[in-house]
């Protein structure tokens, strides 16, 4: 269970202090798939980074499984069981895909074990396992490898920041299957996805709408989603996803 209490975050700008998030209060229960949506600039990614410890809040507390993690750094939070998939994954010269997956799993995986995570995100494992995570990989390949590393961690709470950004339509369908499979397997774990894709909202247990740094709406999917259809908070697949041949 993740509890966010009166969380605010601001940055200094030319116009003085600018508030990105204001007094956010949320609970992310175990065993749920939560999707956070809302217009661009509403504070979704900032909230994800605050939970992972990449940004520090101006005020408020974050409590994870009864541990106050507000003052913990990224490593400490990761070790407590928070996973984070970046919207724009990082490249590493020299580090191979298998190195990253092994680091994520925290143990010496066999090649076969590591390959299962790549296969899960639709990559032909034997072609990728020994590749360097460098600029020879396309944005879509990198994104899927990023998701594979996060899956390998098997964390209590996994945050995906716009997992669909930069991937093609076929991979997107595959991604939905990955999330659905994750949900079936998780009992005491939870998934938080930052996305405004309607197909991702469709598999949510609960939806939270962030707008202008505030919680605009939250609740079960059945209650929240109908009000979002046709707005920028629930974009249809062919908008925002790289068009594939069948789109």
């Amino acid at each position: 269970m993740l509890k966010i209490q009166d969380l605010s975050f601001g940055v200094n700008s030319d116009d003085g202090q600018k508030e990105i998030l204001r007094n956010i209060n949320l609970e992310i229960p175990d065993g749920k798939l939560i999707v956070i949506t809302g217009p661009n600039g509403g504070g979704k990614s900032t909230l994800a980074k605050l939970i992972a410890g990449i940004e520090k809040p101006s005020s408020g507390r974050i409590v994870f499984d009864d541990n106050d993690i507000t003052d913990m750094n990224v490593t400490e939070r990761a070790r407590l069981g928070i996973g984070f998939a970046f919207q724009q994954p990082v490249r590493f010269k020299g580090l191979k895909v298998i190195d990253l997956i092994r680091l994520a799993a925290g143990k010496k995986l066999t090649v076969v074990e590591a390959c299962t995570y790549l296969s899960a995100v639709g990559l032909c494992a034997r072609e990728y396992i020994d590749r360097e995570v460098n600029s020879s990989l396309s944005g879509g390949e990198l994104k899927r490898i990023e998701i594979a590393t996060v899956l390998a961690r098997k964390t209590k709470l996994t945050i995906f920041d716009e997992p669909e950004a930069g991937i093609d339509l076929w991979s997107f369908s595959n991604l939905i299957e990955v999330f659905q499979q994750q949900r079936e397997e998780m009992k005491d774990r939870s998934i938080m996805i930052i996305s405004h894709q309607e197909r991702i909202l469709n598999i949510a247990d609960e939806i939270i709408v962030l707008n202008s740094g505030r919680v605009d709406n939250k609740g079960d999917r059945e209650a929240v989603l109908p009000g979002l259809i046709g707005t920028s908070s629930a974009v249809q697949t062919c908008r925002g996803i790289k068009k594939g041949a069948d789109c």
């Binding site: 990224v74 490593t75 990761a78 190195d99 961690r153």
Partner: protein
């Protein structure tokens, strides 16, 4: 072959050897050859003046290896060794060199290895050279390798040059002359730390049509160390050349990259790339989100970069 623990340790570090290797070899310790073996196809012959060895690989030799590691365990030793490699036409061999110095004393220890390669037509050579230093003495560990490569038509040489730890002062000088259709590939890895200084100078002359060179040097300068990377390709024919200096700078390290291209033929196609920068913050954060501490993340990034 009787080896003490320091000799064993150094041989393991520089040549991954835990005893006498198979194939031809010459193991030099504290200025003397302590073990040598020739094979039917590879002759290792000491020079008459005792200043080094000549290695003759017969034409057509396939799949053989030659190990010529050097270890120094006595403080204050200084030597210059001349090793010449004659690689016969159509041969395909792997040569493992390298030098490890353990200096626990107050005097500087220095090994300057001058290696000349005469590679005949269609021959292929993979050359691996690792340099390593250890020991807690105040005496410096100094290595100044000079490598000269003379490549005949359609020959291929791949060089892996590695200096990862413990060498206080080094000037690495590599020159190569390539005839028609010859190809040279170099992968250099350099890490300096504490007060160490390293200079690496390459001059590659592409003299024949369709000759090709690909020189990539990756370096990490930590603490107060200094690196100078000076990579030059000269295109004298219809040739292709590529150099890349890619460096990570840390702490108070300093790096000077001086890539240079000289085209003396209108059909020469030469490219250089050079980049110096600290470890990107987002790389550290990514690995920290996987549960690594900042220092563990740093080590992984450097190990990967230098792998």
């Amino acid at each position: 072959m009787d080896l003490n623990n320091i000799q064993k340790y150094l041989l393991k570090e520089i040549a991954d050897l835990s005893g006498a290797p198979s194939g031809a070899y010459n193991i030099r310790s504290d200025s003397q050859s302590i073990a040598r073996q020739s094979t039917e196809n590879v002759d290792i012959i000491p020079k008459e003046n005792g200043s080094g060895i000549d290695i003759f690989v017969k034409p057509g030799t396939k799949g053989e290896s030659v190990h010529i590691p050097v270890v120094m365990t006595k403080s204050g030793l200084k030597e210059t060794v001349y090793n010449d490699f004659y690689i016969g036409e159509g041969a395909d061999v792997e040569i493992v060199a390298g030098c490890g110095i353990d200096n626990c004393g107050a005097h500087d220890s220095q090994h300057d290895g001058v290696h000349r390669f005469f590679v005949q037509k269609n021959a292929r050579v993979k050359y691996v050279e690792k340099h390593y230093g250890s020991g807690s003495g105040k005496g410096k560990r100094i290595l100044n390798p000079v490598t000269e490569v003379y490549m005949d038509e359609d020959s291929y040489v791949e060089m892996e040059m590695v200096q990862i730890k413990g060498v206080d002062d080094t000037t690495r000088t590599t020159t190569a002359d390539l005839k028609e259709g010859a190809k040279l590939v170099v992968r250099e890895r350099l890490m300096t730390h504490e007060e160490q200084k390293a200079a690496s100078v390459y001059t590659v002359n592409l003299n024949g049509d369709n000759s090709n060179a690909d020189i990539v040097s990756r370096g990490v300068a930590r603490d107060n160390s200094y690196q100078k990377l000076d990579l030059k390709i000269v295109g004298n024919a219809a040739c292709k050349g590529h150099t890349e200096c890619d460096s990570i700078i840390m702490d108070n390290g300093k790096i000077l990259a001086v890539p240079a291209l000289e085209a003396n033929n209108v059909d020469a196609s030469l490219v250089h790339e050079a980049a110096i920068g600290k470890i990107a913050g987002e790389q550290l954060i990514k690995l920290m989100t996987l549960g690594l501490s900042e220092s563990e993340a740093e080590e992984q990034i450097i190990n990967g970069f230098l792998s």
